[in-house]
Structure formats: structure tokens, C-alpha cells
Symmetry: C2
Subunit: 416 residues, 2 copies
């Protein structure tokens, strides 16, 4: 079955918000075996919405709209859909009571009169009540096309899909689609594609496709079958082949990020980490603490952006800073060792380098970065030259990702 | 002029990534006075892309595609656009050399042969070279419709728009459009709208429109005129009116962020800052060091994610941590004072709180955050209750923004 997503909202066309509903729904639909072929965004404009609906009904079995169900004057989705598909709207007294109760108990105020509109729904529709907001959604079928209306706020959209729309859609589909994401660091998208060209171009089910991310990339393997088990059986040898071809540049399958892999490896081994950061300026600590439960493995760190902090807190000898310069291998090593000591962690990683936009006063070019990792096994160091003209953000992100890569390789006993 | 954005990429339809390019470009186009009426997303499929192009050329003056310019087999944007608009592709030897040089000097490796494709561009196009990636973009005009092709990775897309596509588009619009962005922290979008409803609904040139951002908002004033001077003359009284109406919740006009304002205020006064971060885990340091030249004002900081680091490095008394708990006003104050001492900075800010997903073991709810600011004038503290159900990322970001707000108000002598 083919689905099309239509998001309604002028705020999307003004760039005020991104269309995250489309991302959320696409991922969930593809897991249900429903193929999404188009996303469309239109503003709060009945004519353009009607045009988008007419186009969608010609090419999709399922149309899902997001947004435009609220009580304000520009929320026109239901009215326009009903006009396009030739349905009447009718007042649902029970929904009206629910909305009134929501206002009184959850928000502690009287329901404004224009919210009555939210209880107007198409005749003979399946109602999706909304316990996490006021706008209910709904679905109906007309001429073989299923139309589902979901609220715009991502939290409500996600909730209503998972708890209401999913059951409606599961009855319509045959078969499931299963995907696995093979995450790669240390090999570029074109080299990955070169290595896997044969299966990528030959295969139709399962399929294999490459995706570039900032400083890393991934390959997605996808299979369609009657059952999840059958799809997994198709995927198993393919994923194994990719892992064998690419080797240890693959840092995980179906994992979020390098730092998540590092965090899990630390937790499994009962080890703790700290970070001494110069040019990354807190980015490594931020990435580690983005993960819930970080305090089990991450003790903290020092952002030693100036030499005073490098010597004062981390104990890097002033003479070393003077002789070698802050951006040097000996200083990186001393930072990691000092950080491990003052934070009392099993491992400590350090980063010192030139993020740009200008070279440092010792002539180190932008993108020159030293990363050290101290443990009870001693200290190792990696030097990066991650490129001029790549921008401060990319240099910093490359430095952090390389630090996580060194940690992963050290923790898992892989070659560095 | 009316623009339509077409994003190309199966990864968007699978929900792998959100269409952030559309958001970035929509915001920038609207600032140029170009109206965006549709966003469309199609997969790596030449037929559906061709269909989307045919539809777009009937209803838009400007078509901007994002994605599908890379070297892999599924990057079909240029070929499909050329077929649709009846153009040939030709090899640009100079671009090929640039890409080859990029690989050799920036990445230190041989260019894979499939990257030759990236140097194939439509005959008689304006080339947008890409110093931050390998895929160049381009633009041409055919039958009154301008077609612009930009790379998919958001960093490259943003860079190429700002540095290449913008100039191309500015020549198409008659007159100039000038915008000023009035940035606001500490007043919600609906209150801002209420305060400025009259000019927002009445004015047509200049115009005034509100935008919500994560934990903050802004108002954009836009004027169109024959010259930049004439546009500025229209904007001047309007911007003054907004500043007078909103007062000191406005933290700047045409500035990037609160931290940029703080950084400039520190620089002007010759003062330095450090940060002791618990629940923000390095986010404040990261924001400060995102800014080039940060080392002039930011000495560094301590990510004291565990009590051991709070006492060991910052000197927070263990008895205080024991009695009051890590999430408390006395601990926040001690963290800021300790950080100021060990980093040797004029000012130090500290954050301790519960980012979630769970309450802490003393029953502090998610979103409870204490922020302290130490200086030679003493230490002040702000308590936030930034809400259950808002998610870890929003709590952390609200905490960091409040810290910057306290710094701004202290540095500028505004009420706290």
C-alpha cells in the first residue's frame, strides 16, 4: 500500500518549524509495510490543500494529513477534506464533552466557544480521541482511499498514531517491511558505495542503500515479506555480508551514535570516563550527557579553553605549554592524564586543536587536532588533520567523533 | 515571486531524517521576500521527481531542489532536471580538478572515480562551487522558471544558499528586501503577538511577523523598497516601536543568540567567564566555544556531573552535598564560587538540576534547575521549574538560556 503525507501549516512554509511529523510518521509507516512516496506541505489555504488532496487521491491508497485541526480560524483541514471527498461534518456531542472536561480539569479554565469546532467530525468516520491534547483526529474511506487526519503538534501526532491510527492501518496492510541500519565511522560514503556496489545495484528485496551523515555514514538494509520473521530471514545474510565487507569501521547495527556505543561498552565493563576539552569546548561532555543515565559512566570533565585552566586544574606543566604549545601531542597526553587523576575516572579522553577560523600563533593549521586517551594501560594519542575550509562546527564534531572512535576501539580491543 | 522546494531522497520518505533543508531555505527565502507555497519530498526515483518538477514549473517562478547531487548511483537530481527542462549535461574540467584537489588535500586520498559525476553540470548554468563539500550546485533559467540545485547535507545546503544562491536570487527580485530580526527571551510567542497584534495585522510594508524558537522567540520586521536606504527608513520607526513595546526582554536585533550577546558584552568590558555545569553537562561551554574567538572571554569550565567532581575540583563541601542534595541553591552557589576560583575568571555561572527523564532521589521534579552567578559583587541564584513532560533536551536548553539571560542582565545592569 502506498501512502502520502500532507502537512498543513503556513508556519512550515515560513521555516518557523521543520516538518518533524513527516519524519515520525514515515518511520512508523515503513515499519508497518506501508510505502511512503510523497510528502507535501501546503499552507493554511483551502484551495492549495484541496489541490494537494486531489493529487494525492490519484496516486495513494492512504492519505494522512497532519495539522489544521485546532480551533483557530486558519484550521481548515477537516472542512477542506470533507468538501473534497463529498462528506458532511456533524457534531459529536460526546467529543464535545471530552474537550470541555479537558479544559476544566487539565487546564483549569472554561472551554472557549470556538473549540466547539473541534467536535465537528465527518459523518461515519472512525474517531481518534485525543487524551494528550484537545483536537481529536479521525479516519474514513471513500472510493478506496483511506484518509486519516492527525493533529500537528509532534507529541500529539506521535501519540495518536501509536495509540489510534496504527490499529486502523494494521487492518489494511499485507506484509511488513523491516530495516536495519549499519552505522559506519572512518570510511566515506563513496568508498562504502564502491565496496558494496554489487549488492546495492543488483538487489531488489532486500535492498541496500547508503546515507551520508556529518563525518560518518550508514547503510540501510530493508526487506519486505509476509511476516517479520520472513523479512528478518532475508536480511540476516545481507547484514552479515556488509559487516564482513566493511570490517571494523562498522560501529553498530541499529544504534543511535558512536557515543551511545561507547556509553554501553563502559557500562558493560563497569568503567567510568572523563573528558578534558580544549577546542571541542564541552562538546564531548554534552554528547555523553545527552544520553539519559549518563551519570553511571560519565564522571564529568574540564573545559580547559585557556592555558591557565590546563595548568591550574589539569596540572599540565606550564613549561610544557610554553615549549610545545597548547596544540601538541605532549600537552594532549598531559591533559588526559591530569583529567583522569582529578576526575577519578578509569578512562579520560582529551582534545586540543585548532577549530578555526584561524590558524594558531604557532602556525598549526585549522583542523589540526590531537586526541589522547589515558587509562591504566598508559596513554595513546591520535593526530587529525581534518581539513581547512570545513568550518568550525565540522572540525569540532570530527574531533569529538574521533575521540569516541578511539574509546570504542580501546574498549572493544580493536586496532587503533 | 513564488518558490517551491523539492527535496530528493528516499531517506526522507523512510523517516531517517527530517527535511531540515526545507526549514532552513524557507526561512531564508521569506527574508528575501520570496513566497514559498509548497514543499514536496520525493524519493530517489526519476519518474516521481520528473512529475514533481512538471507540477512545480506550472505553479512556481523558482524551483529549488535539495539532495541527490552526490556521487552515488541514486543521486539522480541533475539528470532528471536536465531531461525535464531539455538541457544537456557537460563535464566541467575545472570543477573536476577542484573535487580531485579537495580529496587529495583535505581528505588526503585519491578521488573515487564515481565522483566524476559531480563535475557534470547543465550546459550554460551558473555554477555554485562548494568549498565545504564535494558536490557543486548550480542554477539555470528555462521558460521563465529558475531552477536551483543545492546539496542535501544541511551544513552544505545552508552554506551554499548564503554564499552562492542568495546572490543569484537577489538579482531576480526587483527592489530590495531588508529584514531585521528582533530576538526575545523571557516572553512567550503568544504574549508577544498579543502585545504587537495591532502593527502585525495592520501593516503591509513594512511587515511584522512572529516566530517561535526553542525556549525563545523573535519578531521579524521586513520592508521592500527601491533602495536599501529607503527600506531601512521604513524599518527604523517600526523596530523602535517594537523595542519600546517589549522592553528588556529583547536581547538584540540581528544577533545570533543570547550567548553571542553575552560574549560581546564580556569582550567590551574586558571580563572573563567560566562555567560549572552539572545537568547541562557542557552545553554552556559548548555554546560559548561555538563562537569564533571565544578564548578572549571564556576561560573554560568544569563539567561536574558527579558529586566527586563537584567536591574534588570545585571544592563544594561534601557535607553540603550530603545535607542539601546536589540539586539545591547552596550547592549551585558553591559550584559557581568554586568555579570562579579554580578557573580564575571574573564571572562564573553554575547549573545544577534534574534534566530527566526521571526525578532525582530527593524528589526534585524533572525541570527543577538552580542557576548561580558569582562575581566580585557576590553570588545570585535563579530557580527554574521548566516543566515536566518537556524532555531532556528542552530542560537542558532552557537551563543554558537562563544562565545566559542572567549573565546578560548582570553585565548590562538590567533588572534580574
Amino acid at each position: 500500500m502506498v501512502a502520502e503525507l500532507i502537512a498543513v501549516g503556513t508556519e512550515l512554509l515560513l521555516g518557523n518549524i521543520a516538518n518533524t511529523d513527516a519524519q515520525i510518521l514515515s518511520e512508523k509507516l515503513s515499519a508497518l509495510g506501508i510505502t511512503v512516496l510523497h510528502h507535501t506541505v501546503v499552507g493554511d489555504n483551502p484551495e492549495r490543500l484541496a489541490e494537494a488532496l486531489e493529487t494525492a487521491r490519484r496516486r495513494a491508497d492512504i492519505i494522512i494529513t497532519t495539522g489544521g485541526l485546532g480551533p483557530t480560524y486558519d484550521d481548515l483541514t477537516k472542512q477542506t477534506i470533507c468538501r473534497t471527498f463529498g462528506r458532511e461534518l456533524e457534531l459529536h456531542q460526546d467529543i464535545l464533552e471530552e474537550i470541555r472536561t479537558w479544559f476544566e480539569t487539565k487546564l483549569g479554565k472554561r472551554m472557549p466557544e470556538n473549540n466547539v469546532q473541534q467536535a465537528m467530525l465527518p459523518v461515519n468516520c472512525t474517531v481518534f480521541d485525543n487524551p494528550v491534547g484537545t483536537a481529536p483526529g479521525c479516519a474514513f474511506q471513500e472510493g478506496g482511499v483511506h484518509v486519516l487526519m492527525l493533529p500537528g503538534p509532534p507529541f500529539e501526532c506521535r501519540y495518536m498514531f501509536d495509540n489510534r491510527a496504527r490499529q486502523y492501518l494494521e487492518k489494511l496492510t499485507d506484509g511488513v517491511i523491516v530495516s536495519h541500519e549499519i552505522k559506519i565511522f572512518g570510511m566515506g560514503e563513496s568508498s562504502v558505495e564502491e565496496a558494496l556496489r554489487e549488492p546495492m545495484t543488483r538487489l531488489t528485496n532486500p535492498t541496500l542503500a547508503p546515507y551520508a551523515k556529518l563525518n560518518e555514514c550508514m547503510v540501510r538494509a530493508t526487506a519486505k515479506a509476509e511476516t517479520r520473521e520472513a523479512a528478518e530471514a532475508l536480511l540476516k545474510p545481507l547484514v552479515a555480508q556488509v559487516l564482513e565487507t566493511l570490517g571494523d569501521v562498522v560501529y553498530g547495527v541499529d544504534v543511535e551514535s558512536l557515543e551511545q556505543v561507547v556509553s554501553a561498552a563502559l557500562l558493560e565493563r563497569g568503567l567510568t570516563l572523563s573528558a578534558a576539552e580544549s577546542c571541542t569546548g564541552g562538546l564531548i561532555a554534552k554528547c555523553m550527557t545527552d544520553l539519559p543515565g549518563a551519570s553511571k559512566v560519565f564522571r564529568g570533565g574540564v573545559v580547559s579553553y585557556t592555558n591557565g585552566v590546563k595548568s591550574g586544574i589539569l596540572g599540565v606543566p606550564e613549561a610544557l605549554l610554553e615549549e610545545q604549545g597548547a596544540v601538541s601531542e605532549p600537552v594532549a597526553r598531559a591533559m588526559a592524564e591530569g583529567c583522569r587523576r582529578v576526575c577519578g575516572s578509569d578512562l579520560a579522553v582529551s582534545v586540543t586543536g585548532v577549530a578555526g577560523p584561524e590558524s594558531d600563533d604557532r602556525g598549526n593549521e585549522v583542523g589540526t587536532v590531537y586526541i589522547a586517551l589515558a587509562s591504566d594501560q598508559g596513554t595513546i594519542c591520535r593526530k587529525l588533520s581534518c581539513g581547512k575550509g570545513r568550518g568550525r562546527e565540522r572540525v569540532r564534531s570530527a574531533a569529538a567523533q574521533n575521540a569516541f572512535d578511539m574509546l570504542r576501539r580501546t574498549l572493544l580491543g580493536l586496532p587503533l
